[in-house]
């Protein structure tokens, strides 16, 4: 009864630098169900980030297909991919990547604003999101006035303000101390439980991976079959 939200077939991503070809992804076919909290794990350089970028429409595979909610997201125009990112996807990066010129609440609502919501509406949504990540008293601070953990929580609020189908996170805790890291993972868990948020998260931390519903192991641009079987 669970519906598939992401499906990839034979994904390949080759980087060509001069005559050298680097196979970041060789052949990856996966399925992720709606409402799942999935962790992508593997050694450094195994292709985790590359995979996440393909799924999040931040990059294009050199071969293979990706469908999200049944829609082909590869063979569409750049304009449609942009609209897809705005309406259907959310991102949390390792280094927060907030816009330094915008306050916390502005960082959160800028994408809602771009979706042509009324001012009262996007302000209300952003306030709710910031409250949900525990930052109601930091809404009008600039990123430079927030701690790393607070910035990461702002970026989670930003990623979720448009109620995306999928939340992507690439090592969201790598820059944080253990308390803040736990906050972030607990928030993910909470949103996954409470609103059924689909989450795809790259992590290095075994215990974080274990908090997810499932781990996708990657090795040298392929699925790590041994580890996958052993689960």
């Amino acid at each position: 009864m669970e519906r598939t939200i992401i499906k990839t077939k034979n994904l390949e991503r080759v980087y060509t630098t001069g005559a050298v070809k680097t196979y970041a992804l060789r052949d990856i076919s996966i399925e992720i169900k709606e409402g799942e909290f999935v962790a992508i794990m593997g050694k450094s350089g195994s292709g985790k980030s590359t995979l996440l970028h393909q799924l999040g429409l931040l990059d294009k595979p050199t071969k293979g297909s990706i469908t999200i909610g049944g829609n082909d997201v590869i063979n569409i125009s750049e304009k449609e991919r942009t609209r897809f990112r705005l309406n259907e996807l959310g991102y949390v990066f390792q280094s927060y990547n907030l816009i330094p010129e915008l306050t916390a609440i502005e960082n959160v609502y800028i994408t809602a604003m771009a979706r042509d919501l009324k001012r009262e509406e996007y302000e209300r949504l952003a306030e709710e999101m910031l409250a949900a990540v525990g930052l109601e008293d930091r809404m009008h601070h600039y990123p430079s006035e927030l701690s790393g953990g607070q910035q990461q929580r702002v970026s989670i609020a930003r990623a979720l303000v448009n109620k995306p189908k999928i939340l992507f996170a690439d090592e969201p805790t790598a820059n944080l101390d253990s308390a803040s890291s736990e906050d972030v993972i607990n928030l993910f868990r909470k949103f996954n439980k409470e609103i059924g948020q689909t989450i795809v998260m790259v992590t290095h931390e075994k215990d974080e991976g274990e908090k997810a519903d499932r781990i996708i192991w990657v090795k040298d641009g392929l699925l790590d079959m041994e580890k996958l079987k052993s689960i």
Partner: protein
């Protein structure tokens, strides 16, 4: 492009501009200084050229100079002609002059020099000599044994180290003039004048009536008649009105009488155009570079905005708006400072060897400079931000 896109575009531009106040001020300051460096220098050169021309108009030619035909020596019935011209509405002043030359002697020094016969009162309307008397007094109609002497003929007004032959005279001293017909008479120096123009500060001036006495004329003659008009630029229409009076003399506009001065001012203007163009190019390059650096620093921001789903055109537009804001603010501030400078310098003109120079900023120069600087800022904002907006998202964010 939807109206909401414009809203986001302006919002992002506004936030970027107001958050980076220092950047804003620095870029605006550079724009304003570029504006000033181009317009200020040019306006001084223009002012200088104007002053040269004005010196000629006020000293030599008037706005219109009526002269006898080439085969005639004098304008006859000049008194009636003056009366007729004076009746033309708008004419500011009309004055007759006669030219001669004489050998002037004071003590042991003799100098052959032009002598100008003027009508002191009428002359006030067409030239500035009466205002330029720096010692003694201006001539009056009754003065028969008095003369005005140009400062260039007087030793005490010569520049240091100048070796030209000059009279060591002062107001009250008597100089003997010998004319070509053998007439000799002593004139007392009533005043010494100095306009600042090399071309006219070397004359001796005597009352108009003296000419008849010296040369034994009874006719109402003049060498030329100067006409002063309300302003420059209306010479042709007044020349026509004078022709309509039935005057068959040569009516010359001041421009045609300028000769060397005309060439000199023309050269100044060409120099001005060249330096102005170079100035504009330099300003263009400077503005391009600073805005380019600014946008290049925002590469990551552009990548993030694209990643979260903001349209490329919105991002690009917001940077063009920012550049436009730099350009327009810079030009406005430049304009304000320039206006202030022009005002200050019109109250306290720059004192230069040719006289006080008031900078002149033509509307044309103001508009072109403003336009080109604003255009430069748009171009400088557009190309680097388009490059950044076209870039691969991951490269922009992670600095690939």
């Amino acid at each position: 492009m939807e109206s909401n896109d414009l809203k986001v575009m302006f919002y992002l531009a506004y936030k970027n501009l107001t958050k980076s106040k220092i950047t804003f001020m620095v870029i605006v300051a550079v724009m304003a200084m570029s504006f000033l460096s181009i317009t200020f220098f040019a306006s001084i050169i223009d002012g200088l050229g104007y002053e040269f021309e004005e010196g000629m108009i006020k000293g030599q030619t008037g706005h219109l100079m009526i002269e006898p035909h080439e085969d005639e020596l004098y304008i006859t019935d000049s008194g009636d002609l003056v009366k007729d011209i004076r009746r033309i509405p708008g004419v500011v002043g009309v004055a007759r002059r006669l030219d001669a030359s004489a050998v002037a002697r004071y003590e042991t020094i003799e100098i052959g020099n032009p002598v100008l016969f003027i009508e002191p009162e009428n002359e006030k309307d067409v030239s500035d000599y009466w205002r330029s008397v720096i010692a003694g007094e201006y001539l009056s109609k009754k003065d028969t044994n008095e003369m005005l002497m140009g400062a260039n003929l007087v030793k005490s007004y010569a520049a240091e180290g100048d070796t030209q032959k000059r009279f060591d005279v002062d107001v009250g001293d008597k100089v003997t003039l010998s004319f070509s017909n053998g007439f000799v008479k002593e004139y007392r120096i009533k005043g010494i004048y100095k306009t600042g123009s090399r071309f006219v500060d070397d004359k001796m001036m005597i009352n108009f009536d003296q000419y008849q006495l010296i040369f034994n004329f009874t006719d109402d003659i003049a060498s030329n008649i100067l006409v002063s008009l309300p302003q420059r630029g209306v010479e042709d229409s007044y020349a026509e009105k004078i022709i309509d009076l039935g005057v068959s003399k040569q009516i010359n506009r001041w421009q045609t009488k300028m000769g060397a001065v005309n060439q000199f001012v023309g050269s100044l203007q060409i120099t001005n155009q060249i330096t102005g163009t170079i100035g504009l190019l330099t300003a263009f390059a400077t503005i391009y570079i600073i805005i380019f650096i600014n946008v290049t620093n925002k590469r990551k921001q552009i990548g993030i905005l694209k990643a979260v789903g903001i349209k490329k055109q919105i991002i690009l537009g917001s940077y063009v708006i920012q550049s436009l804001a730099y350009g327009i603010t810079g030009v406005i501030i430049g304009n304000i400072i320039m206006k202030l400078l022009l005002f200050l310098l019109s109250v306290h003109p720059l004192s230069m060897p040719i006289g006080p120079v008031v900078p002149i900023l033509t509307m044309e120069r103001l508009v072109t400079t403003s336009f080109i600087l604003i255009f430069a800022s748009i171009v400088a904002g557009f190309f680097p931000s388009r490059k950044a907006a076209d870039e691969n998202i991951l490269d922009a964010i992670f600095g690939g």
